[in-house]
């Protein structure tokens, strides 16, 4: 396992563990303060399982007032705090620090209000993403952002990471579907940003907090907008003889003015692996396979599917299947959604990367990945949210072989650097966390990072809230680890990823 530099451990805090636990038991129900190793163990990692660290203590507050008092106490006593939702994040954003109090928000698990008149849901942050849709679907509504882990990930975590999903091209990521939050700052201040009225006046703190990876505040309530479910959803499964053809097809579909609800590409390696795993009926002889999904009214979907079909054919599609029923459509997706476990069959371990690139650079980037794969002698499979340029290469390696892990991490870093080089971003939806922290200087110069750090200092002068995440320590550009999966198993193997 790669070593990871984290903020210096405060030995005075470590030695005061019992006193701090006792103080916190004075603030919240004593059974909600966890301190024994057995109790702390479940919190030692999140979805980035390559890194593990037991926290000093875990607290499980039940009210916003308790969150405020805990933060105030920690702020006064200079104790580091790490907030945690469902712990499904893939970049290590809620990985504990040795001398931190971890605030586990699991008890904030109720939906507060379903408001159809204003088309929104007010909820506590540890309600799962999918539970919001479940709460409103009987009236024909849903919550649009759908990260693949939506069955388990919390809405508060979605806000912290600005989570996306396969439908974000058309419907946006969390930030575009969020109306308001209640948040507690490190000094204990409770405030609200946004609300049921759109575009609150003044600086857009709602936008700033979204995707700030738990560095600026602890979210205690979330208001999201809900949409009326589309009447018809249809998908096409298209095979291409080359990645270039698939890439051109994506660009032309967009240029023609069609905005699909989702547009996914997998390379041959992943198509075969997922098809073997889930019997999804994929064209395994194709070099690239694409799922294009449209939603809307019947006429609209028919019009767009027809146009997409025409464009695919112009780009040499080798096979094309249009879903005839919702069951068939879900079958198209079943393989794609099972990419994680399917890859587990191919190699003992793999790392899942998350880079963003201009759509038109797909072929170039995949060629580069293939070149790097030969250079590092490690196989790779690629999944791509083609609609919004979000690439997820899966690098196969063997974690028991240190050299293999080292090569894998270097390979991954090379891919992300290339994404930045072609005009993309280090992370499209998984967040920076500890995973890509040291690569931030690939995307930003010192002035850019300094500006972001001054914002952090403005809200948390002692840098106590989730320190060591997102921004490089000592600004060194080392290559760090990625989402590491052993034997097809993550910490929650049954949760679909990316």
């Amino acid at each position: 396992m790669s070593s990871l530099q984290m903020p210096k451990v405060d030995s005075a805090i470590m030695s005061e563990k019992d006193r701090i636990a006792s103080d916190l038991r004075g603030i919240i129900n004593s059974k909600n303060v966890l301190s024994s190793p057995d109790e702390l163990r479940p919190f030692e990692t999140d979805g980035l399982t390559a890194y593990r660290q037991m926290p000093l203590l875990v607290v499980m507050p039940e009210t916003v007032k308790e969150v405020s008092q805990i933060l105030q106490y920690c702020n006064q006593n200079k104790i580091k705090v790490v907030p945690r939702g469902a712990g499904t994040g893939l970049s290590g954003g809620s990985m504990p620090l040795e001398d931190c109090v971890l605030i586990a928000m699991g008890k904030f698990n109720k939906i507060i209000e379903v408001d159809y008149e204003n088309r929104c849901v007010v909820t506590q942050p540890c309600v799962t993403n999918l539970a919001i849709t479940h709460a409103v679907q009987d009236k024909g509504f849903y919550y649009a952002p759908d990260p693949s882990s939506q069955i388990a990930c919390s809405i508060g975590g979605n806000v912290a990471e600005n989570s996306g999903g396969v439908h974000s091209l058309k419907y946006g990521a969390t930030t575009n579907n969020l109306l308001g939050i209640e948040v507690v700052l490190m000094d204990g201040t409770i405030t609200r940003f946004g609300g049921k009225a759109m575009d609150a006046e003044g600086y857009d703190f709602l936008g700033l907090m979204t995707g700030s990876e738990g560095l600026l505040g602890v979210i205690t309530e979330v208001t999201v907008k809900i949409l009326k479910s589309p009447e018809v959803v249809k998908a096409a499964l298209v095979g291409f003889p080359s990645i270039e053809d698939a890439g051109n097809c994506v660009a032309q579909i967009i240029a023609e003015g069609c905005i699909p609800a989702g547009m996914e590409i997998m390379d041959k390696a992943l198509t075969k692996a997922t098809n073997d795993y889930s019997k999804a009926g994929y064209p395994t002889d194709a070099e690239a396979m694409m799922i294009i999904e449209f939603d809307g009214t019947e006429h609209e979907v028919e019009a767009y599917i027809g146009k997409a079909k025409e464009i695919a054919e112009k780009n040499n599609s080798s096979s094309l299947k249009i879903s005839k029923s919702n069951e068939e459509r879900l079958k198209f997706w079943a393989g794609r959604k099972a990419a994680f476990p399917a890859c587990g069959v191919l190699a003992p371990d793999y790392m899942c990367m998350d880079g963003s690139i201009p759509r038109g650079k797909l072929a170039e980037v995949l060629n580069e990945i293939s070149r790097l794969s030969k250079k590092y002698k490690l196989p790779v499979a690629n999944a791509f949210h083609a609609g919004d340029g979000n690439l997820h290469p899966l690098i196969m390696f063997d974690a028991n072989d240190k050299e293999s892990l080292r090569k894998c991490e270097e390979f991954g870093a090379d891919i992300l650097k290339y994404c930045v080089k072609v005009g993309g971003a280090l992370t499209g939806e998984h967040g920076v966390g500890i995973e890509k922290r040291e690569l931030m200087c690939e995307a930003f110069n010192d002035k850019d990072i300094q500006q972001q750090l001054t914002i952090k200092v403005a809200l948390d002068p002692n840098s106590l809230l989730n320190p060591g995440k997102v921004y490089p320590i000592l600004r060194k550009c080392a290559e760090e680890g990625r989402v590491h999966v052993h034997g097809g198993k993550t910490k929650f193997p049954d949760i679909p990823r990316f």
């Binding site: 009225a197 575009d199 936008g207 038109g360 005009g423």
Partner: protein
Amino acid sequence: MSMEEKQNSQTSLDFNQNVFKPSSREEIVEIVKNCYRKNIPLEINGLKSKNKIGRNFQSEKTLDLSNYKGIIDYKPEELYIKVKAGTPLKEIIEELNKNNQQLAFEPNDFGYLFSGESNSGSIGGVVSCNFAGSRRFKVGSVRDHILGFQGINGKGETIKSGGTVVKNVTGYDLSKLISGSFGTLTILTELSIKVLPKPETSKTLVIKNPHLKKALDYLGKGLSSSTDPSGGVFYPDYFGKNFVLNDLTHEGGLTAIRIEGPINSVDQRLNRLSKELGLLDQELSILDNEQSNIFWNRTKNLEVFKNLKDNLLRIVVPISETLQVIQKFKNYDIKYFIDWGGSLIWASFDQLNIKILNEIKDIVKKHQGYITLIKVDEDLKASADIFTIDPIKYKISEKIKRSFDPKRIFNPGKMYTGI
């Protein structure tokens, strides 16, 4: 020659002038560094289409960005355009038109209100004000379309955030923070903006109806239906006559709902919408693509308030509160129309004074909304808060301001005293 003079002599900038009109980023950096050193406040302007919005403040110098313009990079297939901040919005829209694309947030044109003719301003101004048009409830606000920016902070340092790709969660999303900050945090230099294909067609269902309650009912049902509208407005009787269109003979109050997309789909959805709303043929008209575009342009341009002598307030409340808020306004002589499917109220109050304004503010606040003074007379402007803020957010805003502009040289006091 002092060090400062030496630095200044590197460009042709004359620091004795009161209005700087830079055409390069280097010049802007130099101006800001100079002002930072000497504590000189700067008023930042684009095309001055919205510079009357906000508090009056003292500034020794003006930074006019109208020469800092031009399209840097436009990639229609990647759905983005990268422009210099002083670029006129009009120029950007014309360029996008060539590829049948648009800025989906259809920003308001305040030119008609302030000067009686179109002045859609510069893109930097549009982003700095974050006033989105009728598609707000469907596509988001201006800030939702900003992919990244480059700007100069109050120390003269060039900073950037985001990029040109739509999915990017690398670091804090500063693009959101600078949207709607009225030039108080950075001087924007470059903006990367998401563009979208224009819909194949746009049609509008216009319902003859003078009653607000009924209108809000239509809008609520329409927006909650699967017909996916992209605009919803209500104009009371006194504004009906402003919309003389071939397909619209009715001159009274009206509720209008816009449907966009492929032609077949639009017709199908319009048909369904009028059935779902239980409308009779004689109650409705359908505006075709051209007339529909004229109608929504007039709405976006606030044309019913063209050359308005009086004041104009922008009031945003949750849709559920609109009816009660307007009912409480009945005590005042008011002219208004409603956008954003029911949650944005553009209102002009007769005889507005500080007492009435405070009463209005109380009403809006009680209904979880907020109010921005877009146009008020100078007396009122001097005594009233243009934007509203609570003490906690004021404190946070102060800290954020300082993190970008430590000496408060950018538009100081434009939003709030001390910021």
